[in-house]
Amino acid sequence: MALGVGCTARPGRAKDNKTGSWRVFKPKFDSEKCSKCGMCMTICPEGCIREENGLPVPDYDYCKGCGLCAEECPSEAVSMEKEEK
């Protein structure tokens, strides 16, 4: 985000706030175990998992590390790992 005087922002700039900084645990996706069911993409409250060749690709700029993807994955292909910053 830009440091505008008076905390001002132009339209559409909310995406400049990279909410991924809030994360404590980072989801790690194991493509070997993934069944490509798409549950993680459906369940992600941030809508920040996209699909590439059927496989889930997280956007760590906005993933807050809530862990829902890991909790719901039927193949246990997502693990939450403590992230050192």
Binding site: M1, L3, G4, C7, T8
Partner: protein, 384 residues
């Protein structure tokens, strides 16, 4: 032209001359006469401003916030419980860097309910990012409004400002006031040029949220603007003095401090009484002086330390109390004089409108000379 005017009416007239475009306020004692007078001026077409009537002080300052963001010169006035109700909006106005000027007619805060004067209300907003100027008499109360607009609207500053005058003691007292003409005020205070504003053709949002990576930087910038405003205040004060002959350029005003052993420090109307008390004590050969703190925010610690550098002790008259600690002015003075070895004694005085007479000021000096301080002055015996 010199006129005998009630303090509130003098302030209302000075506000009119400052050409505010939007006024939103809610009447509350002892501020009421100011906003009543302004409402009359708008209704009678003597003042070309939008006067927004609201149902609370929260709404009053919220309307002011929006109007200022839209690019208008904005005015409000309040006191005590009304200011308390504005608390949240005050912080937002400062963070959004909107140069609103608001008169605070100082009054104590409940409970117990009291309509009388002390300075607890504005002091309680000391950390909000509003400039705070305290007037000693009604002439200064009027003149500080022009200076406040000039400083607040400076694009290097962009901060809101309180102009504080003591409730009843100044607001309801008739004093001679030299009222400037419209042409004179216009020559000092040009039309408002907003730094940025709400505009449907060039959209911008004010007061967006900041993540932990950025929040501190916004607060830092407000703090830097606060500190820069001391120079802007002095510059505006000098320009005002050159044009009209009254000099408010010093953030702290020294009175007979040159060879003083005991220095009183105070803010607002009590300084008038203290000056008379100092004169009487000087006649008796006592080396006493006064430092009048005109700008409480930003706090002029370097000016204050310089002015007090030669004294043996400092007695601070605080018309407020940070409960569980000390008076807010004394805390600042102690900080400014830290390492100097000069003892700073605090006297909580005149809370809830209790009168302060010259003999009370002399009694405080007596206590200070005996090194007795950090106390509530003049308490009733039954609580001791």
């Amino acid at each position: 032209m010199m006129e005998i005017m009630e303090g509130s009416h003098a302030v209302a007239h000075a506000v009119k001359l400052s050409r505010p475009q939007v006024i939103a306020a809610y009447p509350i004692t002892p501020q009421t006469h100011i906003v009543e007078a302004l409402a009359d001026m708008v209704a009678d077409c003597h003042l070309d401003a939008e006067y927004i009537t609201v149902e609370s002080e929260f709404s009053a300052l919220s309307a002011c916030l929006g109007a200022s963001a839209a690019g208008s010169r904005v005015y409000s006035a309040t006191t005590s419980q009304g200011l308390a109700l504005m608390f949240e909006v005050c912080y937002n106005v400062a963070g959004m860097r909107l140069p609103i000027v608001m008169t605070i007619v100082n009054r104590s805060l409940g409970a117990p309910l009291s309509i009388w004067n002390d300075q607890q209300d504005s002091i309680s907003l000391r950390d909000s990012g509003w400039l705070q100027y305290y007037a000693q008499d009604n002439q200064e109360a009027t003149d500080l409004h022009y200076i406040a607009y000039k400083v607040a609207e400076d694009h290097d500053i962009l901060l809101p400002a309180f102009v504080c005058l003591d409730g009843f003691i100044l607001s309801h007292t008739y004093e001679p006031v030299d009222m400037l003409t419209q042409e004179q005020v216009d020559s000092f205070l040009p039309a408002f040029t907003p730094y940025q504003r709400l505009d449907a053709d060039d959209p911008v949002s004010f007061g967006m949220y900041a993540t932990p990576e950025y929040y501190m930087e916004f607060r830092y910038e407000v703090d830097q603007a606060m500190k820069r405003s001391l120079k802007a205040f002095s510059a505006a004060g000098k320009e005002f003095a050159e044009l009209f002959g009254r000099d408010y350029s010093a953030p702290v005003e020294s009175y007979r401090l040159d060879d003083a052993d005991t220095a009183l420090v105070a803010m607002g109307s009590i300084c008038g009484t203290a000056k008379d008390a100092v004169d009487e004590m000087r006649k008796k050969g006592r080396k006493v002086g006064l430092l009048n703190v005109r700008t409480f925010r930003p706090f002029p610690d370097a000016d204050l330390a310089k002015a007090l550098s030669g004294v043996s002790r400092v007695a601070v008259l605080d018309k407020n109390i940070s409960l569980g600690a000390k008076g807010a002015v004394a805390l600042e003075v102690k900080d400014a004089l830290y390492g100097s070895g000069i003892p700073v004694l605090d006297y909580i005085i005149a809370l809830g409108g209790r009168d302060v007479r010259k003999k009370d000021i002399a009694a405080v000096v007596d206590l200070a000379e005996k090194n007795q301080g950090d106390l509530f002055y003049g308490l009733r015996k039954e609580v001791l």
